[in-house]
Amino acid sequence: MHSVVRPNAWVAVKLPSGITRVLQVAPNTTISLGKYGAFPANLILGRPYHLTFELEDRRPGETFSRLRVVPPSELYAEVFADEEAPSCSTPAPGTTEAVITAADGDEFSLVDADSGKVVVRPNNETIDDTARQTLTQEEIEELKRDGNNAGKDVIARLLLSHTALDQKTSFSLAKYKLLKTKKYIRRFQVLPIDVPNFSTWQLEERDASKILDLRAEMMGLVGCWGNVHYGGEDVYLDDPKATSEQGHEACPTVQEELLKGRWLVVDDTCGLLVAALAERMGVLSPEETDSDDEAEVKSEDKATDGAETAKDSAPTDENIKKEVVDDDEEPKETTRQGSDTEMADAQDEDQKPKADAKPKHQSPRASDFAIPFSQTNTITVVHGASQPNLSFLNYWGFDVTSPNHPPHPLLNHLLTLTWLQLLKPELDTSYSTPPLTASSETLSSWKPSRRGNFHRKRRRYARIHHIVDTARAGNFSGLVCASTMDPISIMKHALPLLAGGAPVSIYSPTIEPLTTLADCFSVNRRTAWTSGAVPEIADKSNEELEHWVGTEQFPLNPTLLLGTSIQTSRARRWQVLPGRTHPLMTERGGSDGFIFTGWRAKPAEGKVAAKGKFKRRKLEDDSAPQSEAAETPA
């Protein structure tokens, strides 16, 4: 997340009505907020997040509204007034004072025993609001049209011309004012699009089913129980410097000892889960630098491709910066010729503490079989369709479908493969077709487009081989799922791939899939398994049992997971106001969301009996010829 709004960044604009608008702030556009008005996008560019802006009235001779930052003292003016009132524990007696006489003798009023004052007015005098509003709709419209002062005039007029205002209880007065303020005040707040803000918006205002009702509480839990964190400094494999004649044999082999901090992910939330995990691992957005704004602008410019028109018109007055930008155009150009491994180089540039203005030496182009992926700190996504659905990553400037992508940390840390590639790679064409080879002479005789295709295919081959081979090598640091698929089927194939002690964290919007999963690891099943009640496993080694294919009675090997548990969590929001603190009256319902957790176990070889079950063992011993009876008393 950046400190200020960058050109072409996605932001969330929060309106007084509580509605959030998510939009991309392109320079030199007008942002329209519907009834609250419109303003030039350039007025929020380069400004910090979380400030509350107010649309000012148009100045004479200008065609747009300027913005004013609303200081917090103004935002909270009413609360402060409430607090300053003599006793804020009772609901604002100052405002009810005038109408106490009218309520005198009313038996429904709550009267303070000591002072004899009416504390709470009965609500039997509640009057339909519109009936008492003397302003007609036309008048209100007119006020809105030429009303000044960011809508505050309208609100004041509305309050003034309400005939029954003095008959309202302090609660209903506050409510009425809030209602009118929400409707007319021309204020908004700019929030950054990070995972918490984005998911709240998606959950509450867009389509919650798209993200499987994944609430912030559950997202936090899933990430923590999956122990997802920064998995170590990036490590890249050496470029094999393969020539175009060399085929598969030149592909770099998997070096298992280098693989560290890798998480296996199954994501059916359109990429929100991956985004949340990437954020925890520090690979979601380009590295945050503490250097001055220019550097940040630069990285942002790089991240946003396809907005050239906007960028061209963006003012770049300083010479140095211009140079930097020009410099950046180069890798983009080369990418366009069909080299997607260029990304690795670009990433290297990014990792330098600060890409300064002096011209950089373009490193010699990597060979086709160079692996662009880091060996550490990676997310491996297994998907059921032929392409992963990670469309929400677009909000963070990453498009998984784009072949020639501008630099982004996810390019080197996100590995995607299909279930087919993971389980039966030999059936997958792109994995099993050997790479094309050609001598350099034939290559140079080809048209550039054909040559580009040739290189592209070879690069893809090397990439897929690397992804599949590393995934099949296993030893993942954890498994995190939010999927619509049956968790048992996922676990069947994912459990053997996990390192010992690796956590498993599976989210499901409903509990039923998780109870069936947890039941596979029930005490009864485990006891039956270890006590030899399952004839099928009698002569199998641990190695074979790790890859247990499953039977109807034992879908999974119950000894492979420890400490299984199911949990759910819910945040309840409160309103905190002087004298009016209570939980919110309504919140989102729908699926509760549950997570299943556990840790991968490595069972000891051979039969292991539990302590303290002498009786049962005796029974077993009776059947077994080798009796342990002599040992039991000890």
Binding site: T63, F64, P72, S73, A502, T516, A610
Partner: protein, 540 residues
């Protein structure tokens, strides 16, 4: 498991952050004795100082004894067998050590004799006996596997650590801290202030969240937890723990009263991005977290002579600061929120977290089930109840019918036996009701094993935490001065707007649509033309 470790033997990277594939000497591991019974252990090499066991350091549990030597160099998550450890004669042995190692040598053969009939372990024991000679010269006995008992060894993960925390006061549990860290945007590279380190559960989770490598000479600013603890004993305990866990470079722990002395480190700003306050009175500490010297409202608290010292803000001046306070009482929340409003925090929101753990079980209900734990011997459904009632009714009728064949006995009974007859009826009914029909139940139970039988249900725990604390979240935007605004206005001048983004009025929307369509049509025409040309080429 206590006692500070020699700093030189500390693993390079904390086991919490990179546990590696295998367990290591001098590193923290967590033993899972049973489901929720976890015990942290620092694995020691057998050559280290120990309590006088022949096998070196040993963990004794109710599930058996586990010498550390059996737990070192194994993959995490491994199941560890208990070993035969002579726990009884330890004291005596020490005394006898004056006369040489005779005591132990005498003890072990005895033990081995006892176990000779022990099937699969015999091999291991033979091996052990073979190595006994050379090992004895080291003074360390090779561990011998016991016949029963096991535990699992788990890597230290903040969640497991929290569950195994030895001191159970003031613990911020996983449901709370996971949500707090998520909302505080604690991500790799962030600096987070924590006041009230308490038992360290939040500290460990926060360290994991902000970790992005250890600080080096070239890159001194890395993700960091700046922690404050006023309770002196807890402070010492925590600092020992942090160094044992290899986290002292990630967590900067200070012993300080933050109400009075604030959050600066040697007068320098830690440049915090996020703050977590687990204090009894967060409102008294809030004014230290301002971007500018706060107004007179809190001047009393900021003590004397503060005027000459230039104000150094604790916060990162480039970014919005996120805060969370953790207080159990609603009065604390009211005061905190009020103080936050006055200090300019925005987006203030208070939530409480309700967390539930669920257990799965198989509910077995039925009349014909064998009596077992957790089995409910009542009718499974109406049909079963009906069948049972009809059966009782039939038997009753059969019994009370005047029996022709058994006339003799009826005559003998006569009137006097009316009572007896009643009793018989009852007995018959009871016999019918009792689940004695073993032959009826056996086919059912044998066809379905116990782990498949019954309805699968999920139930909450016996006791739930209904309230932990109220969490107050807020954001403090970065400082924005008139100069900043002027600079931004110069950089992004307005007046050249071309397009409208967001909700538009009808006219604008229509216009845009029309333009878009025109452009698309143009494209299509151009494409068609190009294709036609190409096809023409091909035909030629």
């Amino acid at each position: 498991m206590t006692g500070a470790m020699d700093p030189t033997t500390r693993p390079k990277v904390s086991p919490f952050l990179e546990p590696g594939p295998l367990t290591k000497v001098n590193s923290l591991a967590i033993l899972q004795l049973s489901r929720d019974n976890l015990q942290p252990v620092y694995l020691k090499s057998p050559a280290d100082e120990h309590d006088g066991y022949a096998e070196g350091a040993v963990v004794n549990t109710r599930y058996g004894s586990f010498p550390h030597s059996t737990m070192i160099g194994v993959p995490w998550g491994s199941q560890i067998r208990a070993s035969k450890v002579d726990t009884g004669s330890r004291g005596r042995k020490r005394k006898r050590q004056l006369d040489g190692d005779a005591g132990r040598d005498a003890a072990s053969p005895n033990e081995n004799e006892n176990d000779n009939d022990n099937g699969h372990e015999a091999e291991a024991e033979a091996e052990a006996r073979d190595t006994d000679g050379p090992a004895a010269s080291n003074g360390i006995k090779e561990a011998v596997a016991d016949t029963s008992g096991f535990i699992h060894i788990l890597p230290p993960i903040p969640e497991i650590w929290t569950m195994s925390l030895p001191h159970r006061t003031q613990v911020v549990y996983t449901p709370d801290y996971s949500y707090v860290l998520h909302r505080l945007r604690a991500r790799p590279g962030a600096v987070i202030i924590e006041a009230g380190a308490g038992s360290g559960s939040f500290t460990h989770a926060a360290a994991r969240a902000v970790y992005n490598g250890y600080p080096t000479a070239t890159c001194p600013r890395k993700g960091k937890v700046v922690s404050f603890e006023y309770h002196e004993q807890r402070y010492h305990k925590m600092s020992v723990e942090l160094s044992e866990h290899g986290l002292e470079e990630i967590v900067h722990l200070t012993h300080r009263d933050v109400y009075k002395d604030g959050f600066l480190l040697d007068g320098k700003s830690p440049e915090a991005d996020a703050i977590f306050l687990d204090l009894p009175a967060p409102w008294d500490a809030l004014h230290h977290l301002s971007r500018r010297r706060p107004a007179q409202a809190v001047a009393g608290a900021s003590s004397s002579g503060g005027d000459e010292v230039p104000w150094v803000s604790v916060l990162n001046r480039k970014r919005s600061a996120y805060i969370c306070t953790f207080s159990p009482c609603i009065e604390q929340v009211t005061k905190t929120v009020s103080a936050m409003r006055r200090l300019g925090w925005v987006d203030i929101e208070m939530v409480e977290i309700a967390h539930r753990k669920l257990h799965t079980a198989r509910d077995r209900v039925g009349l014909n089930l064998a009596i077992d734990r957790g089995v409910n011997n009542s009718a499974r459904d109406v049909d079963e109840a009906m069948a049972r009632l009809t059966e009782i009714e039939d038997r009753f009728r059969e019994h009370s019918r005047p029996k022709g064949g058994a006339g003799g006995s009826a005559a003998a009974g006569g009137d006097v036996d009316d009572m007896d007859e009643d009793d018989d009826d009852k007995a018959a009914v009871a016999a019918a009701e009792a689940p004695t029909d073993g032959d009826a139940s056996s086919p059912a139970s044998s066809s379905i094993p116990s782990w498949m039988d019954g309805r699968l249900v999920a139930r909450g725990e016996a006791e739930i935490k209904t309230h932990t604390s109220y969490l107050v979240f807020a954001v403090l935007p970065r400082e924005w001065t008139a100069e900043d605004e002027a600079a931004a206005a110069e950089k992004y001048p307005c007046g050249a707007e071309k397009k409208i983004v967001g909700s538009m009025d009808k006219a604008a929307r229509k216009k845009e649509r029309r333009e878009l369509l025109a452009a698309q049509q143009g494209n299509r025409k151009a494409r068609r033309k190009a294709r036609d040309e190409k096809m023409g080429e091909g035909a030629l």
